[in-house]
Amino acid sequence: MLRKLLIVVGIALLAVLPVQAQDAPMLVISLANDPTSLFPPRGADITAGNAASPLYDTLVTYDVDGNIVPELAESWEISEDGTVYTFVLRQGVTFHNGETFNADAVIATWETGSDDSNDYAQDYQVATSVEAVDEYTVQITTDGPKPLFMNQLTGWGIVPPAYIREVGIDAFEQAPVGAGPFRFVERIAGDRIVYEAFEDYWQEGLPLVGGVTFRIIPEPTTRLAAIQTGEIDIANRLSIDEAALLEGSDAVTLVSYPNDRVYYVAFKNIGNGEGSPLLDERVRQALNYAVNRQGIIDGIFGGGASLVDSFIISTNLGHNPEIQPYAYDPERASALLAEAGFADGFAISMGCPTDAYLSINEVCLAVQRDLGAIGIDLTVEFKTSNSFWSEAEYGAVGPMYVDSWSSGTGEALGRLEGALVPGNYYNTWHDDTITDLINQISVTVDRDERAALYSEIQTYMHENPPFIYLYAPQIFEATSASIEGYAPRANEGYDLTNVSKAG
């Protein structure tokens, strides 16, 4: 009765529902949330980066091993002082709207990207001028040496100059145009984003699929079901438990790779951290010894994360493998606390961004439990990430808070600067030694010299921890067996140009 009725109702409604054309195989990919914007300077979150990247090509890009390789730039030269970059551009590249790619496109990309209304304007404002030498040569000048400038350029999605100048950024966001392998078809907020293959893409024969549809599926259980049923081809952000469930399935291939993101409990020695027991480095060491991070990794993440010994993870430039993560040693923690004069522990509060990260609530509860075991009465303030991040220096939360910081460049500089250089919006820990080292790294162009500085700061930050170091997660993704050529990157981005789908 019920089924019959439903079918009748269904048929009646069939006429009003959208029907999807299915000529060439379409790649269907799940997104955990709706991207903020498809215009890269406004695509603040990683989902936005993932969703927007098929539309745009960039001057330079990463290969699978993380090296910087040419894309729309064929070659480049960097001046002696490391401030002037000269790019020779590829010829014969057209945008989706038919415009030709040239030096003016790079200028327009920089101009619109630097607009103050953009979340990531500073990634463009790092260049002080962009000038056309001739139609296919462009010269970019930076404000002093910027060792990671080439890495930042991998995020400059090149836009068609005439179009974006004519319609403006707001309209461009709604109908984005690039020179990438896929062109924008439609976006239904909260539901899907549809791209089709760009037939005039400069790389002959690519892309290999007819198009890409991103489907927004916030509920993990539903996402898991959808990859099992073959309704989606690529499911990202799976937990290890979900991945384990898919293991052995013929229909699904699992992909797993380490994520360059460090999770930690931060301390404040400014604002409401002034005068707190955290100022004593023995206390901070004690807290590091007190947390059972291997337990967190095993229990909460089922082994799907790795230990971190500092802010520099093992795949980062300059990581010193001799430094070991803090062991789980409550006795030693208690002894250090007693030595610092806190034999009976103390009471303190810790902010937890309840909606921001995978399983973060459980991590906060685990930290609360472990610190309780050495006599620290920890109040966890669960707050939405909005109220958490709305005040400078995390002003609204206690002298401790849980956070994470990623780095997309293979080096830890981004997260070091953001979290530890005084004056930055989210900085809560002032340590002159750390600040000096970071400032040196940021102007050292030589890679080996930089590596040595990273090792130095790693050692220092291990002994004088401004954080309780927690873990760096493993990312799990699943692709349907009909997919080939899918290669995700540790920097949380991926490239669909060479992905093919059978059937």
Partner: protein, 308 residues
């Protein structure tokens, strides 16, 4: 849901009757005769016992956990142990323990939410019905506005704004649940006012307070208890819904809603984490509905279920 419940009540409660001493005894006997109601009472008694004596009943402290014992299935499944009869979660916390403590939160939310809603409802209803005029206009406007927004949406929005704490959840349910009671009481006051014996009492010099105390409240005890029972059940239900959206009590509080929420994404993987709180919610709602149905049958003879 409450809108529909309200409509049910509008019909069911037009003429409430005052149970007298003998009727209360009848109520008790009627209860004993109904297996479903008895089942409901037994379940509720167990829940109350869990809430009051959680420390004695539960084998562990609510936040105690051991990573070495995390992810254990229920005892009767391979790999499980009777130390943790319902298994453990990813933090190694005992699920049975947290179910027992969760009864405390659920009953607190349900009981005080319903108590606040009915108290507020009775006060506002009496004010509106007895004094009429602009007081009635203001109160009725409040009631109508609250009732015009779909209840689930209203609760969610209010909870978003005020943030998560046990007190806030109780306040939200208390305030948003009150219109049902306001309408009930106001209607009854208006009906009473029109009746001759109140007029007579008034002409004999009885004050407002006396009239309300002597005539109105006794008449309303039965219906109020019935509505409050349904309301408690609904609030326990809604608490779980709020938790799903991350809007209920803080995550460290062992409430069934929080447990359900934490376990939901693990349902295909570690199903027991969400199954037990889900069952606890269902069982409680079932028990309260059974009790509520029976109370309504007995206390409101106009809609006696099962009678010809």
């Amino acid at each position: 849901m409450t809108d529909a419940v309200l409509a049910t009540r509008k019909i069911a409660l037009m003429e409430p009757s005052a149970p007298s001493q003998t009727q209360w005894r009848k109520v008790l006997r009627a209860f004993l005769r109904s297996p479903s109601a008895m089942f409901g009472v037994v379940v509720l008694l167990i829940l109350v016992a869990c809430a009051l004596f959680a420390e004695r009943i539960a084998p562990f402290a609510p936040t105690y956990g051991d990573f070495a014992a995390s992810r254990l299935p229920p005892a009767w499944i391979e790999g499980g142990t009777w130390t943790h009869p319902f298994g453990t979660d990813r933090l190694g916390q005992d699920i049975f323990t947290r179910i027992v403590y969760g009864a405390r939160v659920s009953l607190l939310v349900g009981f005080f939410g319903a108590l606040l809603a009915s108290t507020l409802g009775v006060l506002l209803g009496i004010l509106a019905g007895y004094f009429g005029g602009w007081i009635d206009t203001v109160i009725s406007a409040f009631v109508n506005i609250i009732l015009s927004v779909p209840y689930l949406v209203l609760v969610v929005v209010v909870a978003t704004i005020f943030g998560r704490s046990l007190l806030n959840v109780i306040l939200i349910f208390g305030v948003t649940g009150s219109p049902v009671f306001v309408r009930l009481v106001r209607g009854e006051v208006l009906r009473l006012r029109a009746q001759e014996y109140v007029e007579a009492a008034r002409s004999l010099g009885a004050g407002s307070g006396r009239i309300i105390g002597a005539h109105l409240l006794p008449n309303l005890v039965g219906p109020l208890i019935t509505v409050a029972t349904y309301e408690m059940s609904a609030m326990i239900f809604y608490e779980a819904g709020l938790s799903y959206l991350g809007l209920s009590v803080p995550p460290e509080v062992p409430s069934w809603g929080n447990m359900l929420q934490a376990g939901q994404s693990l349902l295909p993987v570690l199903p027991w984490i969400a199954i037990f709180p889900g069952l606890a919610i269902a069982l409680t709602a079932l028990a309260m509905n059974f009790v509520g149905d029976r109370l309504r049958d007995i206390l409101d003879p106009r809609v006696r279920e099962g009678s010809g």
